[in-house]
């Protein structure tokens, strides 16, 4: 899916020799997201990239992070990435598993989650998210899965990290449907709605890392992944994207991060009995 052009390399030393190790932007994205998680976080994890990032964090720098899946598993420690949000691996490794109403009432709405990971089909400049439809709701061009846990995660989690691949189709000027609130119309919109959680504080894409401007809450590029130019980001964003005064380069993957991520993905592919 990612052409040769999107691959970058890091340098590795072994027995006095130097090697080059390639990595994909996808890997850079997952690793950058994992780094944002801390050991004390209680993380509400969705399937796919969020699950990979959260479990990578757990394997590297945040061994005590608490992973919560909306299926009810609290403190899951899966050895492979679940395909679905309710795989047996999650329950078997969890501290306990609660009923789904309790998960949404006591744990999410109760304010027990520090970080929620979300992704979407469309995102706008204020981090608002669409996972419902492309086109009009009553006559959709593409019918997407819908909210799932996202709508209430967006307002009940302490903060939201968004991980998604960047393109003009996904990073849009205007959402077709607002499934989940980000910073709304920007500024203090969340506070005016009586919401006291932070909303999106971090967006990690396959090109860059963005954070909301402290005042306007408009997403602003704070670092570019190695090998990515400003033009790459501009060309893959559907609005006039802002950059930090001096965006840094995202620190490239470490050998250990890549090795652990790949081992996790390999175990996962094997366990799910298919390619993928």
């Amino acid at each position: 899916m990612w052409g040769r052009k999107s691959l970058q390399t890091i340098e590795i030393r072994r027995l006095g020799w130097r090697f080059k190790m390639r990595y994909s932007r996808n890997e850079m994205m997952t690793i950058a997201a994992a780094r944002a998680l801390g050991n004390d976080d209680v993380c509400f994890v969705g399937i796919g990239l969020p699950s990979a990032a959260a479990n990578l964090a757990r394997s590297i720098h945040a061994p005590d992070i608490t992973l919560i899946y909306e299926s009810g598993t609290i403190g899951a420690r899966p050895d492979v990435l679940p395909l679905s949000i309710g795989d047996s691996e999650l329950c078997e490794t969890a501290r306990t598993t609660v009923a789904v109403p309790e998960m949404f009432r006591y744990w999410l709405q109760g304010g027990r989650i520090s970080v929620g990971f979300l992704s979407a089909a469309q995102l706008d400049r204020f981090g608002n998210l669409n996972t419902t439809v492309i086109g009009p709701y009553e006559n959709p061009k593409v019918r997407l899965p819908g909210s799932g846990g996202a709508t209430e995660m967006a307002t009940s989690c302490g903060e939201i990290f968004i991980v998604m691949r960047q393109s003009t189709r996904s990073f849009v000027e205007k959402l077709d449907f607002m499934t989940s609130l980000g910073h709304g119309t920007g500024g203090d919109d969340r506070a005016r709605r009586g919401i006291n959680t932070k909303g999106p504080t971090l967006v990690v894409t396959d090109f860059c890392v963005m954070k909301p401007d402290p005042k306007t809450k408009e997403l602003t590029v704070v670092s570019l992944h190695p090998g990515v130019s400003r033009e790459d980001v501009v060309n893959n964003t559907g609005w006039d994207i802002r950059f930090n005064n001096n965006p840094s380069e995202t620190s490239p993957p470490k050998e250990e991060e890549l090795a652990i991520l790949r081992a996790l993905n390999e175990r996962t592919a094997l366990a799910h009995g298919g390619s993928n």
Binding site: I47, G48, E70, S71, G72, T73, P82, L83, S84, I85, G86, D87, S88, L90, C91, E92, T97, A99, V100, P101, M103, F104, R105, L108, Q109, N128, T132, Y137, E138, P140, V142, R143, P145, G146, S147, G148, G149, A150, T151, E152, A154, T155, S156, F177, M178, T179, S180, L181, G184, R190, R193, G194, I195, A271, H272, G273, G274, N276
Partner: protein, 285 residues
Amino acid sequence: MAQFLSLSAAIEEYLCDGDTVVMEGFTHLIPFAAGHEVIRQNRSDLTLVRMTPDLIYDQLVGMGCAKKLKFSWAGNPGVGSLHRLRDAIEKGWPNSIEIEEHSHAAMANAFEAGAAGLPCAVFRGYRGSDLPKVNPNIKFINCPFTGEELASVPAINADVAIVHAQRADRDGNVLVEGIVGVQKEAVLGAKKSIVTVEEVVDDLATGPNSVILPAWTIDAIVEVPGGAFPSYAAGYYKRNNAFYKAWDAISRNRDIFQSWMKEHVLDVGPEVFANHRNPAAWVEI
């Protein structure tokens, strides 16, 4: 009080055309064998309620059993779209279906309210979302103490709830274990309930706080080993992720879907599910 019935007798007796039916199981313990029996008995005009329609409702919708779907996340988890459902929504094949769309939090609360005998659920939700604009079953009320605006949705009280569980004892008490989803709420909130189980045992051998559905909360119990396949039953068999992936290709094409359903559903009975407890089975479709 729970009666032990055959699967065909249970569906025959308790599920009628036009009913609102809940088949629950959050990834785990999805009652596929029962869903297939509903298809074989050609039920129609059903209102299907489920948080995650999953393959089970993709099959029911594709076979023309549904007139309405109430849901909160409609996808093939980790794989992609539910193609039969999309075909019904986007192109009206085999019939158009009405949808009532919620968030997970709303559905979970609505199941809870259904079990609790309340007319509605009250929770902090839908703030800033467009969903209330397209779903008249989402309203807002104010806390009488703080004035805070809270969301409300109607309780879910189905005509029939169908769930799968690990075990029943000979008195008809049922144990659900592991990821328990909203199954207890679905059953307690429904007028009638059918539970398929992996096995019937002398003693449930439970802990003091196990999730139990007492016999007097259930109408029919059916022993269907493997009945959750390709979902799973913790302690019995794992989720068949390969089947979930394979479903993507089967369901993309109307003809392939129909011939698959004929071969694997219409022309067989619930006894085929017993084979699915063999972990080697079904990796190749």
